[in-house]
Amino acid sequence: MGGVVEHPFAKYLRTAMIPHIWCPGCGNGIILNAFVRALDELQINLDKLVVVSGIGCIGRSAGYINVDSFHTTHGRSIAFATGVKLAKPELEVVVISGDGDLFAIGGNHFIHAARRNVGIKVICANNFNYGMTGGQVGPTTPLEALTTTTPYGNIEHPFNLVHLAAASGATYVARWTTFHVHMLTTSIKKMLQRKGFSFVEVVSQCPEIYGRRNNMRTGLEMMEWFRKASVIANFSDPAKAEISPERIVVGEFVDVEKPTYEERLHAKLVQIMKGAP
């Protein structure tokens, strides 16, 4: 347990909680790594950063990062984060959560926060299932995939998260896999330096639970899928950003400026106060 304190990123971690609970080869650790690397490269003011996470394996990430953090109920991190951001707009508020938490139970909160363009930054670990509870089907599980609740193969079409995010109004949308560590850090840095609702989907391996049931028994096998199938197509049509055994379209898809909710609110408040007797 004491070992991690020598690592250059130890100061970004709650070292008493390391090693983390994630399985060997799990992508969550890579996402955590990329995130703290972004904090390090930007020399972010750690006293003004809040990390909010949801329920799921990736939800444990908030507990590992040495900043103000909160682990909410299932699906509600974005709504909670909205309250934080509006109450204290000077804080950088980052939501780190999973595909089920953000897009099944939390789907409604995601689309509305994106629509409002609240300045929260969302990192989604998309591992195609509900890993923490043993590997049930989720809103991003591929067709015909085997999970504990689709023992005969999944008959539901999955979400295309970058399309959903773009259509909901997110002003920054990117997708990378855990193989694309440097691009992922670059996107996270971009998110931390911009305003408005920003979203990065990270295609992430869950070898112990998802991979094992779907012919990819190890983290390396899943990572090889990411490496071989990925195609970088920056600013291509989000609607066509598929994820399939043969093709994972990655890159940045949306990067636009639009007045944020906080900016509009502030402008309105100024207007109201000016009009006051």
Partner: protein, 90 residues
């Protein structure tokens, strides 16, 4: 690295040298660092760590180009690389 005021004309000497640090008991044996190192600097050791897996070992530190991929792709903060600091070349 040369002393102040001196310029090294020897390319080999000027090339940054790496120190690779492996926090052995943190490794969970995923193999990403070993497999994806572009210069085959690492290999699986025979040692068994506190987690019951074989952590990596450095087999060719000289070949390391400090790309940092191992450090970035490790899910467990079990490996990091630094540039060796030596005066007058390493």
């Amino acid at each position: 690295m040369s002393a102040i005021g001196e310029t090294s004309t020897n390319v080999e000497k000027a090339k940054p040298k790496a120190e690779i640090h492996i926090i052995r008991d943190h490794c969970k044996g995923c193999g990403f660092c070993i497999h994806y190192c572009p210069k085959r600097v690492l290999a699986e050791s025979n040692e068994i760590n506190a987690r019951g897996v074989h952590p990596p070992m450095v087999v060719n530190e000289e070949a390391c180009i400090l790309c940092g991929l191992c450090m970035a792709i490790c899910p467990d903060f079990a490996i990091y690389v630094r540039e060796k600091r030596c005066m007058g070349g390493c």
